[in-house]
């Protein structure tokens, strides 16, 4: 079992972010995906077979491919209808602007952070432009694009990861619908039929719970590493409660997007203590964290808990979560409740029956 390690950079502290796993590889097209320059040829050049193979292998690992090509925008239609590329490229960007801007648009369209992008281009100029403007992007020349790089090889590929290409397509449809929607963002969310299903984790959920523990930063209370085998023990342990939340709407399935590792009545206290609480980035901006918290609080109260104790390790990334907790009645716990390790604080929230609810978000409870 791995020892506990802290992934988060402490709040206010400088330090390099560790390289994240890549979620999307953005390919240049001319002389990278296919030989030559497309608009200079009579017919669309055939993509290199080894590039298509690489795209498929990456997709199997949950890593999607996109494209950023400096070319005539009219080529976009040809790419969108290309028998071998249409299904392999999500949100391709074809135009004359800088590639760094294309990458930002892709990250925004897919709803991922810029540091989850890799960029492959044969042109040293383009690589230099992107590296200068977006230092978080993994920039590679075609011969550096190797599938055995650590950024492309997650230790475990969960079903959730494999479904990433599908989810990105669904997100594109969702955003297109929102753009056409004549109303506020909140009205759109209501109209999109969001449903949050909450219930206890099953053994099959363990890999995804471990993946969330590993990969969430913004909505993660401690950044503590919890190996899958330890999580599996907790799922089976009546002294712990491991809830999972799944989100869907009429455009598709966001998957398992929230979880927590909750100790019941720690140290004999009439309390529940989430040792870790996480929400995936893809589910934020929809009041999901608040809805999950409120539900956990109600379950805790039903189990006889009189307060919720939350371990929190402030980091460079989790300020929004800290604000969410503060805004929902969490304050410094009384020292008698426990003394967390250095760099971590213990927050407490009394359970008086006024737990937060998100009225417009449909909540479905799964039985224990």
């Amino acid at each position: 079992m791995r020892p506990v390690r802290w992934r988060h950079v402490p709040a206010g502290g400088a330090g390099a972010m560790t390289r994240c796993l890549v979620k999307c590889v953005v390919w240049d097209l001319d002389d990278t995906v296919w030989p030559g320059v497309a608009i200079e040829q009579d017919a669309m050049p055939a993509p290199y077979p080894e590039v298509l193979r690489a795209m498929d292998i990456l997709a199997g690992r949950g890593i999607v491919s996109s494209a950023a090509s400096r070319t005539d925008p009219s080529l976009a239609a040809a790419v969108a209808g290309h028998p071998e590329l249409a299904e392999r490229l999500v949100a391709p960007q074809l135009g004359w602007g800088p590639k760094s801007e294309a990458l930002l648009r892709i990250a925004d369209e897919l709803g991922i952070a810029v540091d989850a992008l890799a960029f492959v281009d044969d042109s040293a100029f383009e690589r230099g432009e992107v590296a200068a403007v977006l230092p978080e992007v993994l920039v590679l020349a075609p011969d550096e694009m190797r599938l055995d790089r650590p950024e492309f090889t997650p230790a475990v590929v969960t079903d959730d990861a494999k479904a990433r290409p599908r989810r990105y397509r669904e997100e594109q449809r969702r955003r297109a619908a929102e753009q056409e929607y004549a109303g506020s963002r909140e009205a759109f969310l209501r109209a999109s039929g969001l449903e949050l299903t909450l219930g206890p984790a099953r053994p099959a959920d363990v890999p995804r719970v471990a993946e969330l523990a590993e990969r969430t930063h913004r909505f993660n209370t401690t950044g503590e590493a919890w190996p899958a085998d330890r999580i599996a023990e907790l799922v089976d342990d009546p002294g712990w409660f491991v809830p999972v939340g799944r989100l869907r709407d009429r455009y598709g399935d966001y998957g398992l997007i929230s979880t927590a590792l909750v100790e019941r009545h720690p140290r004999g206290l009439p309390a529940w203590q989430p040792r870790l609480f996480m929400v995936s980035c893809r589910a934020t901006g929809r009041d999901v964290p608040r809805a999950v918290l409120g539900w956990v609080m109600r379950r805790a109260r039903a189990d006889g808990a009189r307060q919720l104790l939350v371990d929190l390790r402030p980091s460079n990334a989790n300020l929004e979560l800290r604000l969410l907790l503060r805004g929902n009645g969490f304050t410094a716990a009384d020292p008698s409740a426990g003394s967390p390790p250095a760099g971590t604080v213990l927050l407490a929230r009394p359970l008086d029956g006024d737990e937060p609810t998100v009225p417009w978000l449909r909540l479905i409870e799964e039985a224990a």
Binding site: A11, G13, L312, P314, L321, R322, L323, L324, G327
Partner: protein, 89 residues
């Protein structure tokens, strides 16, 4: 109203995209979260960035449990206690 309190109210208005006159008129014990101000996660990030920028007080890094964010008055007191005006440096 102290100079710091006036500044905090201005930063609040900016973070929330609200009329500064409206924010200036609220009682000092108005809670930041919930209530008429309704500071949230994103607006809170903006507010604290503004505080650090204007007063050099890093609430994010120094107030680990964000106790100072109870109300306009508590945030003002927290910042005022730590703000060293340029003229004193």
């Amino acid at each position: 109203m102290s100079e710091v309190e006036a500044g905090i109210r201005e930063l609040l208005a900016a973070a929330l995209g609200r009329d500064p006159a409206e924010i200036a008129a609220l009682p000092a014990d108005t809670p930041l979260f919930n209530g008429p101000l309704g500071v949230g996660s994103l607006t809170g990030v903006r507010l604290l960035a503004g505080v650090k920028d204007r007063y050099g007080v890093d609430v994010v890094a120094e107030d680990l449990t964000l106790e100072s964010l109870a109300s306009i008055a508590t945030l003002t007191r927290y910042v005022a206690d730590r703000y060293v005006a340029d003229r004193y440096r």
